[in-house]
């Protein structure tokens, strides 16, 4: 059983609960990307250096995470079927790994968060399938779904063919058509799926998104909301640093959904997080996924806030309110002051802090939406971009146009 109930709105921003069987997730939510298989066996939580540390945080593995339980940082995680081959897996090992669903492995049996299994369309499209150590598998919609089913996630998504800003028109249309066909094939197997089904759409502006929706609707035998429980907007990663594009894409996607009567479906923005997140929440996005918390940590970067990071050596832990930074165990780790520390342990704590910073901002935002005070939401947005010169114009534009205009018609005292 899947449902999405919006229980608070402020402007276009909204708070909801995504209920999937007996699991629920509060939105807006950021799904941290977790690499469930990263080499190794179950004893090492299927390995992966810092990826392993993250999984240890996720399932609360005290030797690594200390005395406190940080699994609440992971109420919902994202994984991708294409990442299964990131660590040179053999065909035999892949078959062995897939014979159990993620939660059927004892290590993850207690994990009660929501697992979102992405189809990994971009990687599959560029590589032509999954390439392991001794095999290459062409992946089509059916095979992608087979692997997703084997992992046993809570959220499934069709295999997509992401577009690229430099695509020629004909290439883009071809990709959109293939995505639409995959959506149909995916929908035809809806009965096999015990979870939420998300539909991928692609486009950077309204005309493109309109085409993407049109092609899918033409392909499907039933209306989208009959088959799908959510919409996932993709292809934005190549433009992740162009806030203008992100704003237009999310905004136009929401408009398309409203015009087509899909406004009750949750909107997930694939591959985007970080500084654009509050802005996209204000536009009505419900969830995100990103590995940026991890990638920044791997590069030794410690988030000060959503916009700024510093080398972890220069981080002022006292200035951070997150639980990781207020835990002496992790402060010592991040300062490399414990014996026999692996890099994964040092940076794992940094990654957990980075994620905590992102989650904290979303939590604050959720509370403002719950309070229903659009002015407070605008103030929060304005404050968060106060010193971000290149970024704030987008927030100010949003506030000016859609929330509380700074220069109201009536707000004049001219003689």
């Amino acid at each position: 059983m899947v449902s999405f109930n919006v229980h608070a709105e402020a402007g276009e921003a909204r708070c909801g609960t995504l209920q999937i069987n007996d699991r629920s997730l509060e939105t807006p939510h950021l799904f941290p990307v977790v690499n469930f298989y990263a080499g190794g066996n179950e004893g090492s939580l299927f390995g992966g250096g810092i990826h392993r540390t993250i999984k240890e945080f996720m399932v609360n593995h005290p030797p690594v995470v200390g005395e406190q339980n940080y699994s609440d940082l992971f109420p919902g995680v994202m994984t991708s079927i294409s990442s299964l081959a990131d660590y040179g897996i053999s065909e035999e090992k892949l078959e062995w790994y897939l014979h159990n669903k993620i939660r059927e492995w004892e290590s993850f049996s207690d994990y009660n968060g929501v697992i979102f299994a992405d189809s990994g369309g971009y990687k599959i499209l560029t590589q032509g399938g999954i390439q392991g150590r001794d095999f290459e598998k062409d992946i089509d919609q059916d095979k992608a779904l087979d692997i997703q089913l084997a992992l046993g996630p809570d959220i499934f998504v069709n295999l997509d063919h992401p577009i690229h800003p430099d695509d020629e028109f004909e290439d883009r249309i071809e990709k959109m058509k293939q995505t639409a066909v995959n959506a149909r094939l995916f929908a035809e197997r809806r009965d096999e799926i015990d979870g939420a089904c998300y539909l991928t759409v692609h486009g950077y502006y309204e005309a493109m998104l309109e085409r993407s929706f049109d092609l899918i609707e033409e392909e499907l035998a039933e209306p989208i909301p009959k088959v799908f429980d959510g919409v996932a907007l993709g292809s934005l990663v190549p433009r992740k640093d162009n806030v203008e594009v992100l704003v237009e894409a999310v905004s136009d996607c929401k408009r398309e959904m409203q015009q087509r009567g899909y406004e009750d479906l949750p909107l997930h923005v694939l591959g985007i997080s970080g500084n654009a997140m509050p802005l996209l929440v204000a536009l009505g996005a419900d969830s995100f996924d990103s590995a940026s918390y991890l990638h920044q940590a791997i590069n030794g970067k410690y988030y000060v806030n959503l916009f700024e990071s510093v080398p972890v050596d220069e981080a002022d832990f006292d200035a951070c309110q997150c639980r990781i930074c207020n835990d002496d165990f992790h402060r010592a780790r991040m300062r490399d002051r414990m014996e026999d520390l692996y890099q994964k342990d040092i940076l794992g704590s940094v990654a957990a802090h980075n994620l905590a910073v992102q989650q904290r901002e979303l939590r604050k935002f959720r509370q403002l939406i719950v309070d229903g005070n659009e002015q407070a939401v605008a103030t929060y947005l304005e404050e968060s971009v106060k010193d971000q010169k290149g970024f704030r114009k987008f927030v100010y534009k949003l506030i000016n146009e859609r929330m509380n205009p700074y220069f109201e018609e009536t707000d004049t005292t001219y003689a």
Binding site: D387, Y396, E401, P405, Y406, F407, T412
Partner: protein, 511 residues
Amino acid sequence: MHKTPQVNEVNEFIEIASDFEDPLEVIREALSNSYDANATRVDIEITQDDEGRNTLTIDDDGDGMCERDLSSFFDLGNSRKHDAIGYKGHGTKIYYKSDEIRVEAVKDGTRIESLMERPWETLNDRELPMYSVEKTETDESSGTRIEVHGFRAGRGFDPQKLTYNKIEHYIKWKTIGGSTAWYFDDDFHEMEITIELSDTIDDTRPPIKTTNRLKFGPENRDPEGEFVAERMCKCYPPRELSVTLDDGQEALIEVVGMVGGKEARNELPTYGKHSAQFGVWLAKDHIKVERYNDAIGADNEFFHFFFVANCQDIELSANREKIRNKSGNVYQAITDELDRFFTKVCQDPWYQDYIERRKLENKMQSVQSQASSLDDRRERAEEQGGLSPSNSAEVVAMLERYSANGAPESFKIADFQLNDEVNTILETENGFDNASIEVKLSDFFKDEPPLTHIDRFVCWKLGDIDALSQLERTPYMDETIRFDFSDNEIKYGEDDPRTIPILELSSKISP
């Protein structure tokens, strides 16, 4: 042993008086002093006699002066003001650049008269000038009259330099006469200002009568008509921006202004180029000092904006023309806040509409000029029978026409790169040729480019045959070159000469 540093008083007077470069600054000083003396009226008269000597008279109904005030007027660095402009006691010293200063003031039933003779001459004789003080009882109402005779205004008060228009602009842009304090309920009182120039300076209009209120607008947010952007105008309401400084203190910035097209801006007392007058003005005591147009950002053109951002925490240079604490944190905090404020203005939907409207109208105008240019071209084409290529692309079209109309040899354009020297690959009956297609053959040779990879030339006409013949007289890339205009070919090289055919289209295509 301890010594006390000495001050050369005469030099200081000369230095301070000379520091004021623009003679109009006397008006700024006069208006500020009258305003500070609570005047509700100030009349300023500037006259020039036949010998070019200026007399400046300032007459107000303010609080007048007592003897102590008179001392402050003449003394250096002895102002009775504290925070406001003038607290340094420098301003009135500009009057010292004159032949005579006469002051008459009434305060609290006492009339005081003072005269300083030859102040500038005396200072330049390395002496401090003296002033007389005479006091009498009176029942006149309070006020001050200052006459400065023989004021050394350079050529600043000459009829060629000084006009009512210039003064009016100066008053509104550079003095308390352009105050925005009234928008903010500050301690503001209205003052009527009259400025009169003698007819020898400007007799084109009656005296200026204004007040010390700077008014923006009038607003015209959505005018009707086809080309209206230049008339569009929006006034932005007064805003108080609060900034926390490093020491925890709060700085207040009072911002008010307008955005508008050229016609709307011309409603204000402008003078000269708008780019020198408009933008974001930083002000102290509501007197504009310097512009900070960076606040508007590189994406926007600053001259559409006219804003005044007043802050008492900026510090001014001695002549009040510049902000002196620009490298400090206070200035940084102020400008940071203004950056944020103007980002909001630039994201205001009205402003965005205004910019879009301007772009649209520019395009509409370019459509109009395009139409007239097309008419001209069409007319020319008709006159010339459609046969007058002016660029190599048009020659390509002619070549196609030539080939399509039963030419003895047929060419097809296989590839064309407009800016390359060898700009064309031609498909001929014998394969592919590298070719240079030119309007005039002589144009190709202007920079003497290499001929190594050229198999043939195609041109509309040969062009300057003398210039081509001249090339034969000196080596061309160390080789000989010969133009055969009867057979239309070029012979290039000596030991192993190459023949490069020339196809001159104008002689092959008849109108």
